[in-house]
Amino acid sequence: MRQLNYSKAITEALREEMRRDEKMIIMGEDMGVMGSVFGLTIGFMKEFGAHRVIDTPISENGFTSVAIGAAMRGLRPVVEIMYVDFAMACYDAIANQAAKVSYMSGGTLSVPMVIRTPAGAGRRSAGQHSQSLEAIFTHIPGLKVVAASTPYDAKGLLKSAIRDNDPVVFIEHKSLYFYDAKCDVPEEEYLIELGKADIKRAGDDVTIIAWSQEVIHALEAAAQLAEEGISAEVIDIRSLVPLDFDTIRNSIIKTRRAVVVHEAVKRGGYGGEIAAQISDELFDYLDAPVKRVAGSNVVIPYSPALEDKIIPQTGNIVATVRELLHGGKNAVFTNAV
């Protein structure tokens, strides 16, 4: 089958939807003439015209709100916030406007728009260009939040997000843009429904729940653990809101152990929400406490020597799973047993 990398898959999703629906527009900084800072929309302005591929001024709150108004009038804007960190400059537009229009209007208005935003560390970009802020969006009712880890998922989910009638925050890990691995992406059209998790690797001993780039680390960890005779199941939730808890539940009933992995800062991260839901509903099935492997509670540092220390790596996941299965001097739960 034909293979694509992550950024090419996103480009293809955008191009196909632009060709399919003339009411779709793309807006954001450097999206037109330059084709976006990560090169995802190169050639779009030529193909679709400057009226549909719009270079905006550096006015995040302004142009996100403009997109909201256009969406209320029936267009389907796909806005790019160049770095998710910049979304903090337009949080009013996202949280107070886009997220609330449907409810506060009693369903008479809707905001069919996508906010695409590159996120994540590992590019030596320091504290204002490296964060993973998904929990800030999942906290707001009215937003849907998606974070794909593979080219196949990215394409199918982005196409669904564009066709969705609600505001969707579509988080793309920018390290994945530069990730070498390609994967099979059919040339025929396909969609992936929002709110459906994907079991990326089946296993019996422990469930590792992850999204975005951490899925890749989780799969590497599962491969290493297999060599030790530990069978790990890796669930890529793909969509944070709505969350496919059924897949998580079924897995944990089988494995009786869960580790949630995310790159975002641990404190207040979405992993805490998932862990709480597991504890609430599946306490009787658990053989051990739910563990989180997550970013340190610090600002992302610039120095490569420091940055790599605070992002969860494959080794951290392996170590945590080992502790869960075998106990260990650092395993908090051993004292409680």
Binding site: S59, A70, S102, Y103
Partner: protein
């Protein structure tokens, strides 16, 4: 005199619409004082000329973005007073089925793209509506209401910049009532007139008398014509005044009774009443007849709201999402 340009029918419409706006907000104020409606009520009593003069310059297919002080704007754009009052009461029959309240009346079918509880946030949303008109080549005009307070938000400047850069069919109507809650605009803004800020965006900035509905109407009509012709936006500043506080119950420590009285003496409704009678367009009794009809209409609106049911309990979880609502709220 400008009034000579108008016919009797139009003038009586202006008069009636302003009376309706005042009638609605007078009722809202009374009901709030009696604790019959909850939340926050921001009345536009005193500002009727901007709502009516502005909205009557639009076609029914045009759009408005309203403000937190927006009952008059919504009424003048064709809002039904019964459904609006029901929204204030939090009833199922309200425009937003009781989920938005006073500050959030919205109905796309009559061109109301919602009001906003975040000062200034509606301005770029209105620009987005104008962008849609341009892309869809329909050229409906969007009239964006906002106050002097909003002219100091980043959204105002970002929105005017984009609208002017892209020549969008939008009219910015600033209702300058001098006060952002308690803060006099002169204390926080160097320029004397907000209209002056249009220069920074290369668009016309026009000042109009917000106590003269015909002056507002003429100014906005010209701006609408310009917008519809694809010549871009205009910033209109109407000097106006709210007779009540920022909210009902505001102690109003920031202004004097004399100042309020001075503005009441320039009342837009009284002014039009006199002009209509003096110019011989209608008799005093005819206007009194309109007053009576409006009074009855507003009483009927309150009755409709009072007799309407509250939303059912299950309604609380609907409409968070337009699609796939159930799973979205569950997890």
């Amino acid at each position: 005199m400008i009034i000579k340009k108008y016919n009797r029918e139009t003038l009586l419409r202006f008069y009636r619409e302003m009376k309706r706006v005042r009638g609605f907000d007078t009722k809202a104020s009374e009901l709030f004082t009696k604790a019959m409606i909850a939340g926050n009520i921001h009345t536009c009593i005193g500002q009727e000329a901007t709502a009516v003069g502005g909205c009557l310059a639009l076609n029914p297919s045009d759009f408005i973005v309203a403000t937190h002080r927006g009952h008059g704007q919504c009424l003048a754009k064709g809002g039904d007073p019964g459904m609006m009052m029901a929204e204030l009461f939090g009833k199922e029959t309200g425009y937003c089925r009781g989920k938005g309240g006073s500050m959030h009346i919205a109905n796309v079918d009559i061109g109301i793209l919602g009001a906003n509880g975040i000062v200034g946030a509606g301005i770029p949303i209105g620009v987005g509506s104008a962008l849609a008109s341009k892309i869809l080549k329909t050229m409906e005009v969007t009239l964006v209401f906002f106050g002097d307070g909003a002219s100091n938000t980043g959204e105002f400047h970002e929105a005017l910049n984009m609208a002017s850069a892209w020549d969008l069919p939008v009219v910015f109507l600033c209702e300058n009532n001098k006060y952002a809650v308690s803060v006099n605009i002169d204390r926080v803004t160097k320029v004397k007139d907000i209209a002056e800020r249009a220069k920074g965006y290369g668009i016309p900035g026009v000042i109009t008398d917000g106590c003269d509905v015909l002056a507002v109407h003429e100014t906005v009509k010209k701006a609408v014509k310009r917008a519809r012709a694809g010549q871009g936006p205009t910033l209109v500043e109407a000097k106006t005044y709210r007779y009540h506080g920022h909210y009902e119950g505001d102690p109003q420590v920031y202004r004097t009774k004399e100042e309020v009285l001075e503005w009441k003496n320039r009342d837009a409704i009284e002014r039009l009443r006199k002009e209509i009678i003096e110019a011989g367009f209608a008799l005093e009794e005819e206007l009194a007849g309109i007053d009576k009809e409006v009074k009855e209409e507003m009483e009927a609106a309150v009755l409709f709201a009072q007799n309407s049911p509250y939303p059912e309990k299950k309604e609380v979880m609907t409409d968070v999402y337009a699609s796939d609502n159930e799973r979205g709220v569950a997890r």
